[in-house]
């Protein structure tokens, strides 16, 4: 299997599988112990300047926003972030100066809502650096390789493009078919963060609906922080063990944060807060507006509950629940709220 071609993007988050195994052996607890703590404690303990971080969910869906706001509040710097269909999370982290390096599958956009003023400005002025390109499946499979403890995994993507040229992948000749095949190196984030509907105090977490790439990402990351709508009794988990997506031995911190995905969607529970997302997209057009957003929603509030009050409180949250559960149409007055 000769190497036919090599991408020249930065190799982000790769470890020698033996080195990673040793790290797991020494650092990941296999003990069923209470890991509950506050988001401030979790970020304080497990997110460090310079870390390579990634968020669960997809786009504006099931994103651990309480942790994102806390990272901004604690002023982390020089983070590298996985741009794995990262939208609001990466945009505000770049806007706040926390993230300065990105490997991009999808970033600097908000899907249908338009492009990210803050993220793009940072890249176009050199404040934030794109260190490598990849695709959504490519990132997902980089996490799968890491989840499996492998150095790489093959895929039939990227080949022939500049996305490959700026990736960290390599193309070799498949020894069976003789055809070129792309090898994606494993990606082990230093920290992955997830918001889930339910989790016990040990970290056994369940997710409802699509998993996106959370199964793989949770197994790829060295540290895993879970925020959950509710900390449930262990018994709830043990009654439905086939619903557990992230078992406790992968998890380092469990934080109970109702509405912890706001303003993103939590499937079955609450809808996107379009008004809030629009507010960010509007404010972030200027540096001043960006600063105003953070002053209002991060530095100007004590914690996530005060943030929730500020974005519209109970009335807003109830309205978002009704929309998500298809009991009210999009764009009702309550949804616009007073946020």
């Amino acid at each position: 299997m000769e190497i036919l071609q090599e991408g020249h993007g930065e190799l982000v988050g790769w470890h020698d599988p033996d080195e990673h195994r040793q790290w797991v052996r020494e650092n990941k607890s296999r003990e069923l112990k209470d890991k509950t703590m506050t988001v401030a404690e979790a970020v304080g303990k497990f997110v460090h300047d310079g870390d390579f971080i990634a968020c669960g969910g997809f786009g504006h869906v099931r994103v651990p926003m309480a942790l994102i706001y806390e990272i901004i509040r604690q002023g982390r710097r020089n983070l590298t972030m996985a741009g794995k269909t990262a939208v609001h999370d990466i945009d505000i982290l770049i806007g706040a100066g926390c993230v300065s390096r990105v490997e991009v599958a999808y970033a600097f956009g908000h899907e249908l809502r338009g492009l990210s003023p803050a993220g793009r400005r940072a890249v176009e002025t050199g404040k934030c650096k794109v260190v490598a390109e990849i695709s959504n499946a490519g990132y997902q499979w980089r996490f799968l390789a890491a989840a499996m403890g492998l150095p790489f995994i093959p895929a039939r993507i990227l080949m022939g493009t500049d996305t490959f040229e700026k990736s960290s992948a390599k193309i070799v000749r498949d020894p069976w078919s003789g055809k070129p095949v792309c090898l994606l190196p494993a990606a082990y984030p230093d920290v992955a963060m997830f918001h889930v509907p339910r989790c016990d105090r040990y970290g056994n977490a369940q997710i409802d609906g699509i998993l996106v790439e959370d199964f793989e990402l949770a197994r790829a990351a060295r540290r895993v922080i879970i925020t959950t709508e509710e900390i449930v009794d262990e018994d709830v988990i043990r009654r439905t063990p086939d619903r557990t997506v992230i078992p406790f031995y992968l998890v380092d911190a469990v934080c109970e944060v109702p509405y912890g995905a706001h303003p993103t969607q939590m499937p079955y529970l609450y809808y996107f807060d379009e008004a809030h997302i629009r507010e960010w997209l509007t404010l972030s057009r200027t540096e001043e507006g960006t600063k105003a957003y953070f002053d209002r929603y991060v530095f100007g509030v004590r914690d996530f509950e005060e943030y929730l009050e500020r974005v519209g409180g109970v009335r807003k949250l109830n309205a978002l629940r009704r929309i998500e559960q298809l009991r009210a149409p999009i764009g009702t007055p309550e949804e616009e709220g007073n946020g």
Binding site: G57, F58, G59, H60, V61, R62, T85, V104, A105, Y106, A107, F108, G109, E111, L112, L115, R120, V123, E124, G126, K129, V130, E133, S135, N136, A137, G138, Q140, W141, L144, A155, R156, I157, L158, M159, G160, T161, D162, T163, K166, I171, K179, P180, V181, C182, G209, I210, L211, V212, E213, D214, F215, E216, Q265, P267, F272, E324, P329, I330, G331
Partner: protein, 256 residues
């Protein structure tokens, strides 16, 4: 007269929908592709299988999803799965059609959605591949929906995000991409394009009502193959327009 009072987006949606065959599968994103797939399901292709890259498979969508991971994309689905699952299905040949958007395209259907200017210090930074490279590499037939003008129909792209036919016939297979795949149609506000079998270059298949061949030529940096006799795209029927309003009642994608 009534039939001609349609918006440009309505036309695009109808043209795209008509390309999708019943009993086949389609990988869709949000926006126009989603609307086209839903329109196809409600007209000639009730048995079109819709798949979303975040894991939603075969939903009965109650309301137009805003995001590819939106809970609407797996509402009453046959499976609410994972990206690994659906991307593997794509890689294994289970997906017939895929939709892509593009900031720029070249004569071989290669696509840029990453950057204009220097990659390291770009003039314009765009979101990157997302699932586009995966869809463009692995789907049997890719349908590209985009705006056409001289800054978007380029002789040479600053960055190839997603593969079309690369440098021409045989180039995809030589690169290692799955055989028999590639861009199938390009739909713009001016017309519908395919790719010439021999050269794998962009070729006009139909002009939209009222559009001239000259306009089509004028809105491309490269030469588009234009056969002698090019038909007009059929406009949206009243029935198609009625269904589009049903799908997108507040005009989120279709417009006012």
């Amino acid at each position: 007269m009534a039939e001609t009072r349609y918006t440009p987006t309505e036309l695009l949606a109808c043209v795209a929908a008509r390309l999708l065959e019943d009993g086949k599968s389609v990988f869709v994103g949000t926006g126009l592709p989603m609307i086209a797939a839903m329109l196809a399901q409600r007209t000639h292709a009730p048995n079109l299988l819709i798949i979303f890259e975040a894991g939603g498979i075969g939903p009965q969508v109650p309301v137009l999803p805003i995001s590819v991971g939106d809970s609407r994309t797996f509402y009453r689905a046959v499976s609410a799965s994972s990206m690994h699952d659906v991307m593997s299905a794509l890689q294994s040949g289970y997906v017939d059609y895929g939709f892509l958007g593009a900031a720029a395209i070249d004569p071989y259907g290669n696509i840029n959605t990453t950057v204009f200017g220097d990659w390291e210090r770009p003039e314009v930074r765009l979101p990157g591949s997302g699932g586009a490279n995966d869809i463009g590499s692995l789907c049997w037939r890719t349908i590209i929906v985009m705006r056409q003008d001289c800054r978007r129909f380029l002789q040479r792209l600053p960055f190839i995000t997603t593969p079309g036919y690369l440098t021409g016939p045989g180039a995809r297979a030589a690169a290692g991409l799955p055989e028999g795949t590639g861009p199938y149609r390009v739909i713009t506000q001016l017309g519908v394009y395919g790719f010439d079998e021999e050269t794998r270059r962009l070729m006009l298949l139909s002009r939209h009502p009222g559009v001239t061949v000259e306009e089509i030529r004028a809105n491309s940096e490269f030469d588009i193959l234009i056969p002698a006799d090019v038909p007009e795209s059929a406009p949206p029927t009243p029935e198609e327009r009625r269904i589009l309003r049903e799908i997108d009642p507040i005009g989120m994608v279709i417009g006012g």
